[in-house]
Subunit: 354 residues, 4 copies
């Protein structure tokens, strides 16, 4: 479907037997400027990718290969859709061959090595690569992503919370009580990945609603680190994630205390202004109630701003598809930036509703 | 299954073609001390109840009757499982015949007539009956319910929010910032009832998550009125309800700011103490994460108390089955109290899991 | 995304407030050779389409218009996503202006007017238009569709049953007992449309499985008429549709008795040969088990052929997305044929999984 | 809730960390004549059962024990809710202590040892115990179950297919073509148990419909063996199971060819007569369409008999809750028979709807 006559980007995927992997394959196989070069899985090597993910039949002819066969150093970009700890082992070698690296796991998200080690229970083997890595949230750091050789693709929850908070934190004057920010987040089950665990079984997760990670979730330090960067000072965050019986979709309800001096702020206008030029952030009209299905299978994130009864509590509602804007779509958006393509290339899919 | 030899309670149901109706029928038909006398629906009169609700085949032989046929004034108790506005028309007549009335709609929930009229957009036709009505939340007002002739059965959201807040508001000293209480609530779709509306269609509600009523929900004034009664002063509440793609179940996540002077409080002990003798409130051990399915089809409400990172935000998690403790089960609990039965009679069903 | 420099096809939609409507809008708004000209709904006129279907925000700027405002006679093609009985009233006028018509309802599916009137309980007002209408199943009648001015887009069930049976009926010699064909079909709830009815409520359809229409379903005569055309003689069909608690997806399990003389047939090869050149029919390798999600939101239909224990019963499994290949996608496929475009234009979307 | 003054039955459960285990616990803990004595799980020994299954909090105080601690030989009855192969190792020892055994796995279902070994890929270690075992389908073999010391509790699919077919096979004269019986069966996901496997994940099974086991399913020989017993001759069965995105529920659609000589049979009357005295089989009125939710969490099985267009194909629709009548409920029904209790004791729960 490409109109481009230039050489396509050669893309490789490490891992790819999980949900971010199949979603990357769905997006990249329809991207007009990308040619899928290889996908690796030591365990499944030899198996056609489309045997594992039958939606790809007729669209992706690749087989899983061992890393040795895959010749990833001949790629222009390699995506890591792997568990935490893999990308940091292999990134250096790829970078040395001029390959750009986008990690969908957490290896290059947290700038602080100690924090990483504390939350992910493993030493960080490539602190030097981490230093040059850019946190891949385009709406916050587009220019640095364009220059990046290695990108840490944000977690799904952080994407919603950070984009929901950025306008009030970047307003140029204090608007909210940053010591008491509340994020009540809800995620579809695909966020837990394709690994087998009791809590992800249909008969456990269906027709059920539960909180988890109240005592501490790995996305908490990621959000906090980035919030501090934006706000220029630590932000006190209470973050409670919940599990929703749906496959895709993420919804964050943010509760912010408006400062007495800021009660006259037009928050609707503030948000609209902040994201006026963003192709993948939709600030909905005042009074709107976003739904996760309005972004299902698309890279769009939608925000609505409410102030119940005109009081001093600001309620910000944020929705995205956790596998697209919250993972694979954002990774492709980052790739587009890194390779000088229009940012929306291959990402203009209309959400699937119903 | 009853061991009782006394005369059973003759119960009638007005309405009963909705979900609270069928749930009442499920519970009452298995209640050892109740005999179902009549159920009315002008529209469906003549139809066997079990034709509409096939789960009742073999358990309930009644047909829907017109109010004229039903002779409700011969009942000991009449439940109204009707839209708002019906019970207040008929309660007086029943009371005059010595019949007790339990309304599962909103007619007798709000003590303030003006508030009722503002939120339900109709005049209240029986302010005198309203004056003698008791708000039927046994854990807050058991003694008055025992004496009541008419009970306003609480809304589903209020039950979770009120029972989640009562311990901190009734502690005898100020513990939390009552000006800024946040209730982020989530409900299964059955809460919207059996009436046909686009938003309740499977293809709209499934695989989706959405907030609603952010600008104002009828349960907000109900909660506020009752909170003020408990706390002895107005409580500032931000209440955001959400719709979860599950049939039954309700989950409220409460965020409370602990006052500086109260930071040394043992909230876990406080909650355990408050509900130590309650048969239908289960304060789970510290660190627990309640799930809605743990109370599915049962009258139990479970609470877990968290204080993330030991900070000054208290997070209270509350689950119930919206159709049981949030509606029909609570109504039966109230009936048991009103008729001097052990409070748990007919309500000891184990939740259905998975 | 179009590479075409020719004038785009001006497309109009009548109706469009239902699920086939929004799916048409999703597909047409991403079609490289189509320009959406107008969409009509008398009831919703004035409302932006994207207000009703928020997935279209940023993709479709149209408002619903009254038929008078819409000037549909200036279109190249008009799709009817309306209840039965609308297209037959308006088709003649459009055809007279040279507009092609594709009806997604039943007005032009059944060639026999009496059968139509018997099953749809209304007289057919345009038997003359019906005579020139072509049944729009491209895999069976591609050449006539290319020439058609008016197309009756097939029902969802018929698409699966007909494509599942065509190879054995068109094999050139008798292979199966055509007097006893069984189609056990299962559909997602979106097949019932967006109209409000109790049976389509989330709380009725979720966590439930049911048969319906056992005594007679409107798709039965449609399938039978077309089977007779293919087979050259009446086919005895038992057709039982079932409702599955999922939004999209259709699965038909066909049971065919193999004739004694045909027991040596290689049915796998027969099916592969029959559909070798079809872009939207995927005969899966022997032993495959198709899943509806493998075609979710795509125009692909997949077939697997089984012969349990090598006996004389042939089991054919067919999956499609009822809203795409079973409705809107097939309509676009027909449009492509009618306008001389490559048949797959705008229809190459990869299915969304998970 | 018991009115019985006699000594309760001491019941033990081996296994019990799966769904049939928790369902047994739910039923037995509410059974008026049973006292739960012990539940074993070597892996989870020491853990309170209610920690794994929070619906049991307040109802079951037991902890999982090792087999050594559990003293199962002091029980009156022991249920095996274990993987295949466990009961046959331990049954002999228990029987020697006078303990009755009910196995919910397959060890004592198939009378033919070779068939067992072929399908379950393990030798049968207790063919002598197998010889005295009774297949526990009360509606077919009530008297022998009453006398049994060891019962093989039927599989979930077999229960629906056998009870759906028994009336036509036991009619006293040939009614259907027994060489070509078709059972198109659909099951909720809980039928696959609580073990972790990719296909049972929420994100795989939700919003999806698929067939499985077309080439051969372990319940096929179980059904066939029992059908041959009933019919007095082999029955040719095509059995295709499917997976439905719901937790509980099973639906079998049976297609039977009526013999020319039997076309005048009143099948509705035949079924009603056959099951007139059965407390757990409900033959619905002519024209009925059963739904799985009408039996959710209950021990009822419902049947509807159809003959589309009055032709020679009989369509029998059968629904049950796969975990109750299809597993744990049937096991309790068998226990009631074995201990001389009224068959319905502890099993009269009204199904949960919605």
């Amino acid at each position: 479907m490409s109109t481009h006559t230039s050489t396509p980007i050669k893309a490789g995927i490490v891992g790819g037997t999980g949900y971010t992997g199949v979603e990357l394959l769905r997006l990249l196989s329809q991207h007009p400027d990308v040619r899928l070069h290889a996908i690796t899985s030591r365990k499944e090597s030899g198996m056609p990718v489309a045997d594992m993910f039958p939606n790809l039949r007729g669209h992706v002819d690749l087989r899983f290969q061992t890393p040795e066969e895959a010749a990833l150093d001949q790629c222009d970009v390699v995506f890591f859709a792997t568990p935490h700890g893999v990308a940091m082992e292999q990134a250096r070698g790829l970078l040395d061959h001029g390959v750009r690296v986008i990690d969908l796991a957490a290896d290059f998200r947290l700038q602080d090595v100690d924090t990483f080690q504390q939350w992910y229970k493993m030493p960080h083997s490539s602190p030097d690569v981490l230093k040059q890595a850019v946190y891949g949230l385009p709406e916050l750091d587009r220019d640095r992503i364009r220059q990046a050789r290695v990108v840490g693709n944000p977690g799904c929850y952080p994407t919603t919370v950070l984009l929901g908070l950025a306008p009030v934190l970047q307003a140029g004057r204090p608007l909210i009580d940053t010591a008491h920010v509340i994020a009540d987040s809800k995620s579809g089950v695909s966020g837990a990945g394709r690994k087998t665990q009791v809590g992800s079984l249909f008969s456990e997760a269906a027709d059920n609603f539960a909180a988890y990670g109240v005592a501490g979730h790995r996305h908490h330090p990621e959000i906090s680190e980035c919030l501090a960067r934006i706000a220029g000072a630590p932000v006190g965050l209470t973050f409670v994630p919940h599990l929703v019986p749906m496959i895709r979709g993420m919804f964050s309800t943010l509760y912010l205390r408006i400062l007495p001096d800021a009660l006259d702020t037009d928050f609707q206008a503030l948000y609209e202004r902040r994201y006026a030029d963003e192709p993948f952030v939709d600030v909905m009209p005042a009074g709107s109630l976003p739904q996760t299905r309005s972004v299902r299978a698309s890279n769009m994130l939608r925000i609505a701003v409410h102030r119940p009864a005109g009081g001093d509590t600001l309620v910000v509602l944020v929705v995205q598809d956790n596998l697209v804007k919250g993972a694979a779509g954002q990774a492709v958006q980052n790739m587009n930036l890194m390779f000088g393509l229009p940012e929306t290339t291959g990402l203009r899919h209309v959400a699937v509703l119903p």
